[in-house]
């Protein structure tokens, strides 16, 4: 499964909370909650970039398991 590149704007939407939904996979639920909470407290570009990278890496490593959440992001 091909995961869109880290530069895709939707990753930033997830990290910033602009995409906010009930996720399918437990790991996605906890990870995204933690990241959106952190970004709410520090909205600097550097922080956002770091968390965008973390989310992207998570989906690259879990593309099969998290495919329902991946589809939800890019649908």
């Amino acid at each position: 499964m091909i995961v869109p590149p880290v530069s895709h704007a939707r990753w930033r939407d997830v990290a910033s909370g602009r995409i906010h939904r009930e996720w399918s996979l437990l790991a996605t639920k906890i990870l995204v909650t933690r990241i959106q909470r952190a970004v709410a407290q520090d909205q600097s570009p550097a922080t956002l970039d770091r968390f965008v990278g973390e989310i992207h890496t998570f989906f690259v490593k879990n593309a099969q398991l998290a495919k329902a959440d991946l589809v939800a992001i890019f649908a």
Partner: protein, 349 residues
């Protein structure tokens, strides 16, 4: 399903010496007698077996995962080393962790695990070891890393690799949902609060709030993590100092509500248990000592899930009053709407 079964020290020793790969739970005196091998273990006095909840100090609960895994690597981590836990994750598999209850590593893990680099990139499942409720404060929970040496200040970990035609799923069953009461937020992370909180946005004292509202503190605070109900259980409320202690940390910026009461735990487990999981691919599960005590689970079954009764459950993070389970299943052939080509077409549309 890998049912947990109780065995004598002699029986477990024979399994270890025959090369079986085991996740163990039992009394310290029993685990300390076991020979070196491919096993990790933690102390507890209570178990959920196929016959129901049981207290047993003469036998060890065994989860034999030999037929599910290809290779395992056992390590010990102190609180600093734990931050690099994910660097040792298997390429395809899961990581099982046991942390000694009431230890520094327990506290630091609970506060910091969500920030460990890459911690969500593979399944992290496990539990916090305990003792019998009557021995809390007089006996230290322990864990074991493949030999009879008890450990009280490090986490023990089994990194387990599985074949590429199988996949791991980690999930929880939480009987509690957020009630319809007030929204409670804390300004700082931690296992305790001086009492400062905000109730529906207004500054308040949490201990005073609990007394004023007559809150049943057997009910946890529940936060909604984008669809996952995550509990924080109340350990103590001091009316004089107006402080409140928790069994897991609360986190700033998270909105909590006290849970709706659960009238019948056994019925609720039956309702919430995913039917497709019963009798299939559960490799490990555990449940909370608070559920065991508050719901009187001694002698009662909680569906078909078996495993140790713990002082904290771990599914990526520390949980309270929650059943955690891990499945290892053949990868399903996917021809449905979520197939890879479908994802790509939606992305590029």
């Amino acid at each position: 399903m890998t049912h947990s079964n109780l065995h004598t020290v002699a029986e477990v020793s024979a399994m270890i010496e025959s090369g079986r790969i085991l996740l163990l739970a039992g009394d310290e005196a029993l685990l300390a007698q076991l020979p070196p091998g491919s096993w990790i273990g933690g102390t507890t006095a209570n178990f959920i077996t196929e016959d129901g909840g049981i207290t047993d100090r003469s036998r060890i609960l065994v989860d034999d995962i030999s037929d599910l895994v290809e290779a395992v690597h056992i390590r010990r981590y102190d609180r600093e080393q734990l931050k690099d836990l994910a660097a040792h994750y298997p390429q395809n598999g899961f990581t099982s962790i046991i942390i000694p209850g009431f230890s520094e590593v327990h506290a630091s893990f609970a506060r910091e695990v969500q920030s460990y680099p890459g911690v969500f990139n593979s399944a992290l499942v496990g539990w916090v070891s305990g003792v019998s409720v009557a021995e809390i404060g007089s006996r230290q929970p322990k864990c074991f890393a493949g030999n009879g040496q008890p450990i009280d200040n490090e986490a023990v970990v089994m990194h387990a690799s599985i074949s590429t035609d199988r996949e791991v799923r980690l999930d929880i069953i939480n009987l509690f949902v957020q009630g319809k009461g007030d929204a409670i937020e804390f300004d700082t992370d931690g296992f305790a609060t001086s009492g400062d909180c905000r109730v529906n946005g207004e500054v308040a004292n949490f201990a005073a709030y609990i007394f004023e509202k007559g809150i049943d503190t057997q009910l946890p605070l529940v936060a909604d993590y984008n669809g996952a109900m995550i509990n924080v259980s109340i350990r103590a409320v001091d009316p004089e100092t107006e402080t409140v202690e928790f069994y897991a940390p609360v986190f700033a910026g998270v909105k909590y509500r006290f849970a709706e009461p659960v009238s019948d735990y056994n019925h609720a487990f039956g309702v919430q248990m995913p039917a497709e999981k019963v009798g299939t691919d559960v490799a490990f599960s555990c449940n909370c000592i608070l559920n065991y005590v508050y719901a009187g689970l001694e002698g009662k079954r909680t569906g078909s899930f078996t495993g140790p009764v713990t002082f904290g459950e771990i599914a990526y993070m520390l949980l309270n009053q929650t059943l955690v389970y891990l499945t290892v299943s053949p990868i399903a052939v996917d021809a449905g709407p979520l197939a890879p080509h479908a994802v790509e077409s939606r992305i590029h549309a």
